[in-house]
């Protein structure tokens, strides 16, 4: 039941209707929990069990941790990590481990056979296991107290607007919102629906309607692509993945607001980032902050000398890459970002004091360079395989004029969207989206929303899943 489906529209209308009835808060929360399980079961009913396993494990582990100290407390944390990463490891990385084990055995000259299995990846498992685990970490570190209500905790793990692709929530942030029903219903409903329309426009019109066909053309024919095609395809993918994932996240925020809950923004104008540490403060914010707080800092962060800091950065980004999918390409993508973060630190160390680099002009050029390098790393993220990525890199670095697989109208569309995207991100760099939009005269907001609704309705392209559903 994807957000961009008619069936979800009906589902949400029913949930919103129930939630608006004058019922007790406890009953409303129970309705939301049941709705979340129905939402998840719509894909594959048995996988709701995994959600329950993760929920029950962290619920009990956290309660025991709160009652224990020292080694015993650590045992319960390890139990939480083992169960969550065990689920993730089996369902997400089972095939990957198996394939690489076979390659390794064959390299060692050992003939080894594994009976073929068919492991299906449960939707959103990377998101809800990380979210549930963060609760155990926070209780272990005494940053929060264990939840008093199992209903509240279960809803925190399963809340349907953000269940399958984030934003990844922190328990402290969400559980306090479940404490009492004090919503400003009408105002939040108007703004929430506006956000749903904005997110749908990004997904249906920009990502799926205009950019995805170009990306598929280029990445489906890497060998035949010219240099211009390769750059256009990669710029198109930079736009597609942003509009796809940001569209999803904005819809999630809007849905939650309609129900009276706040969720954090996941993207803060990332293509206006000046440098890579800035990029990761703006791109998929809830994942990067998760990796920073629970992995990078746990590894020692920047407290143990430069070499160790660089190592920690690299390892965090490699694992962050692997989180996205069971493929060496994602590991390479994460590794590339890790390397860029290390190089940025070295550059700051060497040139950080030079006055020129603090000027607005320098920041702008560094921002453009950051965007171009981020685009290059997207090749690893999108390519079908390593050979295709290599082919595309080779073509991109050999400038040539002419189009082999795309056409002029596609080129102009992609360049137009990319320029608008960059312009908007630089304009919004230090502004808040909600404030900027709501400061417009109300007829202008109505006109913008009407244009978006019309564009959505007149873009009857094929229904495509959100890219991050695969992760």
């Amino acid at each position: 039941m994807a957000f961009n489906s008619l069936i979800f529209l009906i589902f949400f209308a029913v949930v919103l209707g129930l939630h608006s009835l004058p019922l007790r808060w406890q009953i409303k929360k129970t309705n939301l929990l049941l709705a979340s399980y129905v939402f998840y079961a719509a894909w594959n009913p048995p996988f709701v069990l995994l959600l329950w396993i993760s929920t029950l494990t962290d619920w009990f582990a956290a309660r025991r941790m709160a009652e224990s100290e020292g080694g015993r407390k650590l045992v319960f944390l390890i139990m939480s990590i083992a169960v969550n990463l065990g689920l993730l490891g089996y369902f997400k990385y089972g095939h990957f481990i198996e394939e690489n084990f076979l390659v390794l055995m064959s390299m060692l000259g050992v003939e080894y056979e594994i009976s073929p299995g068919n492991i299906i990846l449960p939707l959103g498992i990377s998101f809800y296991t990380f979210q549930s685990m963060s609760y155990s970490f926070d209780v272990y570190r005494k940053q929060i107290r264990p939840a008093d209500s199992m209903l509240d905790f279960a809803l925190y793990v399963s809340f349907f607007p953000q269940l399958v692709a984030g934003p990844i929530l922190r328990a402290g942030f969400f559980l306090q919102q479940l404490a009492e029903d004090n919503r400003e219903r009408v105002a939040d409903l108007g703004w929430g629906i506006a956000l749903i329309v904005v997110g749908m426009f990004e997904k249906v019109v920009l990502a799926d309607g205009l950019l995805a066909p170009v990306v598929e053309t280029v990445y489906g024919a890497t060998a035949a692509s010219s240099s211009t095609d390769a750059w256009i395809g990669t710029l198109a993918f930079a736009g597609q993945i942003f509009f796809d994932f940001n569209g999803y996240s904005v819809i999630a925020v809007g849905l939650a607001l309609c129900l009276g809950f706040k969720l954090p923004w996941n993207f803060l104008s990332p293509y206006a980032a000046v440098g890579f540490s800035d990029f990761w403060r703006r791109w998929h914010v809830t994942l990067s902050s998760w990796l920073r707080d629970y992995l990078y800092i746990s590894l020692g962060g920047n407290r143990r000398g430069k070499i160790r800091t660089y190592g920690n950065l690299l390892l965090t980004m490699l694992l962050g890459g692997l989180w996205h999918g069971a493929s060496w390409l994602f590991v390479l993508w994460g590794g590339a970002h890790g390397l860029l973060l290390v190089l940025e630190r070295l550059a700051l160390h060497l040139f950080g004091g030079v006055g020129f680099f603090k000027s607005s002009l320098a920041k702008f050029f560094i921002g453009i360079l950051t965007f171009l390098l981020v685009c290059l790393t997207w090749v690893l993220f999108r390519a079908e395989n390593l050979d295709a990525a290599r082919q595309l890199f080779a073509v991109m670095l050999q400038p040539s004029v002419g189009l082999a697989v795309t056409n002029l109208s596609q080129v102009l569309t992609v360049l137009g969207i990319t320029a608008s995207l960059l312009g908007t991100h630089w304009f919004m760099r230090n502004r808040e989206f909600s404030v900027t939009l709501r400061n417009l005269p109300w007829p202008a907001i109505g006109l913008i929303l009407a244009s978006m609704i019309v564009a959505i309705l007149l873009s009857p392209g094929e229904e495509r899943d959100f890219i991050y559903f695969e992760f």
């Binding site: 039941m1 909600s434 109300w442 873009s459 009857p460 229904e463």
Partner: protein, 336 residues
Amino acid sequence: MTLSTSSSDSAQPPWHKVWAVALILSLVVVGSWETLVRQANLGPEYNDNRSLWANARHTLNDHGDNAIALLGASRLQYAVDVQTMSDAFERPVIQLSVEGTSALALLENLAADPRFRGTLIYSIAPAFSFSSIHPRIETGKQREWVQHYLGQSRSRRMEQSMRLYLQGLLAFRSPDAQLTRVLPSVLNTGSLPDRDQKTTFANRVLHKDYSKLSADVDELGMAQFYLENSVPYIQPEFAVVLNYMNTLVQLLRNKGVDVYFVRLPSSAEVKLIESVLFPRPTFWGLMEQRLDARFIHADDYPEMAGFMSQDGSHVDSQHIVEFTTLLIGALRENQL
């Protein structure tokens, strides 16, 4: 930049007014668009994509014992009027052909599906039928469509049915009325585009109006395409594919499925090329020897060639019913 998302954090616009304007404007624009495209003869139409195909594939499951499944490429999809055939045999006929691809992935899928026990008509278009051994011809599309069908949950099926229902109802959801198609036409010619030469119906029957095709799409163009893309049957890989097809046909036969291989007509240069690259006595003859099925070759029904379009490869949609009637006759002669 803060992470706040709530409306309560800053002054609110009057949302009831905003939404009244937005909804009225949307309704007016979309309503006008619907009227405009209908007046330009761009009525509701289906998109021949993986969703429509998956819908047809699910329909086959509903009639697994009794249905006639049509497998092939564009030749079969343009040639058969599903309703005429269904009326003639008093059985559901499901069009599963996919343009420009090998039907091998479909044959695999039906062979592996225990629910399918009906009749299978497999059209051999030589350039495509063994294309899994030829990298220049698209083979991934049909496999991808099968994967899409196999991965569909119940809720996805419901979604698909609702979307198809709306597509049949609303002209502005038609592929020809898409902004990306309409805007360039309006900018270039000042008028709405003509209906595309291809029209897809809910049962996946495809009508191609050859009078709207540009002059360069003719027999020579199609002949050139076949010449460049065909894999001569003498390649050793042909035997490998044939062996594989034999395995699949056996699986189908074991379930009680009647299998028909059909060679639809071609004309002029296309026919010439096909007869050189795939000579009947050896190519078709080898298939007849190896596969436990019934065979219908258009050369045995010369009247079929009278309905060919200008491209020499497809039946013209004007004659689809007459052609289907001839094919029904040929199938009846072969005990269907």
